[in-house]
């Protein structure tokens, strides 16, 4: 549809026409704001916590544990230099006594959502799957933050939904 619209504008005489092919789905997934009746306030990205701990694959579990103790979180995301999520170290893994690397301790391929995910759907998902939180990443896998169940439920209440 947008290639046709762009071509149509060119045929009318517009000289500089661009086609944002990936469209608003991509825009929202990149964590960028949307306006409208179901704009950003109704999306996961507006209600996330951004202080979620991260570590690198080569970090030692002992050090990760010490950082987590200070942060108040009980989970840590293993990310690369671009903040792309490689894995997650959860509560159980963090209690391991052996001081392995984060890469060895992490669970691969944690389930993630996009910032554009509808808040109502995310709350329903967390409720049905008994999840306390959902990590939020951009469409290219970079960690944005964490949507917690209490935050999401409270946001829905405030939105009157």
């Amino acid at each position: 549809m947008s290639p046709r619209a762009a071509s149509r504008l060119e045929s009318i005489g517009f000289e500089r026409v661009y086609d944002y092919v990936a469209g608003k789905a991509d825009w929202g997934s990149a964590g960028l704001a949307l306006e409208g009746e179901n704009g950003s306030e109704t999306r996961a990205g507006a209600h996330i916590r951004t202080d979620v701990p991260t570590c690198r694959p080569g970090d030692r579990l002992h050090d990760v544990r010490a950082d987590l103790d200070e942060s108040g979180w009980d989970t840590c995301f293993v990310v690369d230099e671009r903040r792309v999520v490689l894995g997650r170290i959860g509560r159980r893994a963090i209690r391991r006594r052996r001081d392995v690397s984060a890469e060895e301790a992490m669970t691969l391929g944690p389930s993630t959502i996009r910032p554009s995910g509808r808040l109502e759907a995310m709350v329903a998902r967390m409720r049905s799957q008994r999840l306390t939180n959902l990590p939020v990443t951009t469409s290219d896998g970079r960690l944005v933050g964490m949507l917690t169940f209490p935050d999401a439920e409270e946001a829905l209440r405030r939105l009157g939904r």
């Binding site: 046709r4 619209a5 149509r8 661009y18 469209g23 949307l34 306006e35 009746e37």
Partner: protein, 68 residues
């Protein structure tokens, strides 16, 4: 031929060249959500008269929901 761009280039064109954003989906979908500053010209209404809303001296970026 229209130039395909990603969201980084959209942001640059908006910031540096005062580009105009046009959503070509039906009006109800525009009302539901749209990019900040965009205007709605559904594809089926995109004729010369509607196009007069646009400034021919500035870049125009069209978009829909996704690439499908």
């Amino acid at each position: 031929m229209p130039t395909p761009i990603d969201h980084h280039e959209v942001q640059r064109l908006l910031a540096e060249e005062q580009a105009q954003l046009v959503e070509v989906l039906p009006a109800a979908e525009f009302a539901d959500e749209h990019l900040p500053g965009a205007i709605s010209i559904p594809l089926k209404q995109l004729d010369r008269e509607r196009a007069q809303q646009l400034d021919r001296n500035r870049p125009v970026i069209v978009y829909r929901y996704d690439s499908q």
